[in-house]
């Protein structure tokens, strides 16, 4: 039994190394004094260059703006549709849920291409609005899949009791339903934000000329060889998320102990 535990520990460690090795490489090379795959000596050169590179800071701003905005709208539309879909029954509900799965099964390639075609057909010039619409479209399904299970778990009687006791539907929703749904809403938003942040393919097909997100910027630089400034930026982003998670998770643990 001990042997088994030993091997499973080794196996987990190997998978963990596999998943995080490239990330470690990226972080280490962000501190390299030269460009290239040989480590010279420690330097903060790329971090200094990062804050002078307007192109990268622009792309970072675009990426964050698109991720926050699209996640926000996707969460609102997703929440409203969850309430609507949960009121449906039988066939309409099944149709809804399978429609909801289309963007997830469709592959990003086809979703991106088809959106590009539809924007051209509607006469929308590619730019911020088209990227936002595209990101909201592929984010909504993730939000719905995060909120729906929680909504099904909520106790309907509490909500109905509030209504019977004279609360308006809006007030009852705000006071009863929303707090219960909050974890689902939060994880849906986070998932949507992450998906949007990491997306390349759909942005690539729906962006206009001159607008770069980090992904498209990196893709255009791959040919020339990526400068470690991008590594520096990614390291900062990665470490900030790590710290954020650390702080978000700490108080939670204490409250579950009580």
């Amino acid at each position: 039994m001990k042997l088994k535990r030993f091997f499973s520990q080794i196996y987990l460690t190997l998978i963990f190394i596999f998943l995080y090795a490239p990330i470690a490489v990226l972080i280490v090379f962000s501190f390299n004094s030269e460009k290239g795959s040989r480590f010279n000596h420690f330097s903060l050169r790329w971090y200094q260059e990062l804050f002078q590179s307007e192109m990268i800071l622009d792309a970072l701003w675009n990426t964050l703006f698109i991720a926050v905005t699209s996640a926000f709208f996707a969460t609102i539309i997703g929440l409203i549709s969850c309430l609507g879909i949960s009121a449906l029954k039988g066939k309409p509900k099944a149709v809804y849920m399978s429609l909801n799965n289309i963007p997830m099964l469709n592959s990003e390639l086809v979703t991106g291409l088809s959106l590009m075609l539809v924007f051209a057909a509607f006469g929308l010039t590619a730019g911020y609005p088209t990227i936002l619409i595209a990101h909201i479209t592929f984010n909504i399904p993730y939000v719905i899949l995060s909120i729906m299970p929680r909504l099904l778990q909520t106790n309907k009687s509490t909500y109905e009791a509030a209504i019977d006791l004279g609360a308006s539907p809006m007030y009852a929703f705000y006071k009863i339903l929303l707090p219960e749904l909050m974890p689902g809403i939060f994880s849906g938003f986070l998932l949507a934000f992450t998906m949007s942040l990491d997306d390349f393919i759909i942005t690539y097909f729906t962006r206009g000329a001159g607008i770069n997100t980090l992904s498209t910027l990196i893709y255009s630089e791959v040919r020339k060889g990526i400068k470690p400034t991008i590594n520096a930026l990614s390291t900062i982003m990665f470490v900030s998320v790590l710290l954020l998670l650390f702080f978000v998770n700490r108080p939670k643990k204490d409250s579950t102990k009580q």
């Binding site: 490239p22 539309i77 997703g78 429609l99 291409l113 088809s114 075609l117 479209t137 991008i230 990665f238």
Partner: protein
């Protein structure tokens, strides 16, 4: 509760505008030529040697990637389940966290590791093993795919395994089944929904990728995704690109139909 049904209409409108109509448009372009007349040439173009070779290669590599992911991910999910880490966010975070480092950058990092003069070569040299760069080979592509999509296999498997009723597993061993029998007769069949959604979430993106083959294939490996992307971005032939996309979608739908026959409840269990 019935009054709330109308709340679902905004999303319906949104889906019609940005999911259904776009797909119909692909169909329209796929079946018309540049002059707007009906043709099936864009569809039959898949039989040209270059296109069918790329499609077969994509099918072969994505199938292999899916199998490798399943074999690697199942033990991970089982171990994590037995560790009783709970349904909590921690495990999920471990596998979602890498996504905060850009997907292209992470894939590009493998180039640093694997390429001539890369870290692995120098490591092998230092311990006296010869290493030839695998960049530009099928192995590099599969590695890139597995690296990127493995979390999408682990998460649904982990979900379904942790939700599994432990009493059923205990009952099996109480009734005399050994560990192997318990696994093949109880755990594995009960985890089918997780396998189905994991396979879906790995197979579809790896079948259609063009980025991984771009970055790690050294432009020697052409997948169907690369061909379609180039029809749109370089050749500017959206008719042929749409036609080939339609063929690709048929393959996706067919494989989905095949896989979902094993998902008896028809529910799956995604994230």
């Amino acid at each position: 509760m019935n009054k709330k049904k109308w709340l679902s209409t905004p999303y319906l409108v949104w889906m019609i505008a940005f999911t259904i109509i776009p797909l119909l448009l692909i169909g329209y372009y796929g079946f018309t030529g540049r002059d707007g007349s009906f043709t099936i040439e864009n569809i039959t173009a898949i039989f040209s040697p270059a296109h069918s070779k790329a499609l077969l290669k994509s099918l072969y590599l994505s199938l292999l990637c899916t199998i490798v992911c399943l074999i690697l991910a199942y033990p991970v999910a089982l171990i994590l389940k037995n560790k009783n880490v709970g349904q909590g966010g921690f495990v999920i975070m471990i596998f979602i966290l890498p996504m905060w480092m850009n997907f292209l950058l992470r894939t590009y990092a493998w180039l640093n590791l694997l390429d001539d003069g890369g870290i692995i070569e120098r490591f092998c040299e230092s311990i006296g093993i010869s290493y030839t760069s695998i960049i530009g080979t099928d192995i590099a592509i599969i590695l890139g795919m597995v690296y990127n999509f493995l979390p999408f296999m682990i998460l649904p498997l982990f979900n379904v395994l942790t939700k599994m009723d432990q009493h059923v597993i205990n009952a099996a061993s109480d009734l005399g089944a050994n560990a192997f029998q318990t696994f093949t007769k109880v755990v594995l069949p009960l985890s089918l929904p997780g396998i189905v959604s994991g396979v879906t979430m790995v197979f579809v993106p790896s079948l259609t990728t063009f980025v991984i083959s771009d970055l790690l294939g050294a432009r020697k490996v052409m997948l169907i995704g690369n061909i379609i992307e180039q029809e749109f971005s370089i050749a500017d032939n959206r008719h042929l690109g749409s036609g080939l996309s339609l063929v690709l979608m048929i393959f996706i739908l067919a494989s989905m139909a095949l896989i979902h026959r094993y998902d008896k409840n028809g529910e799956g269990s995604s994230l």
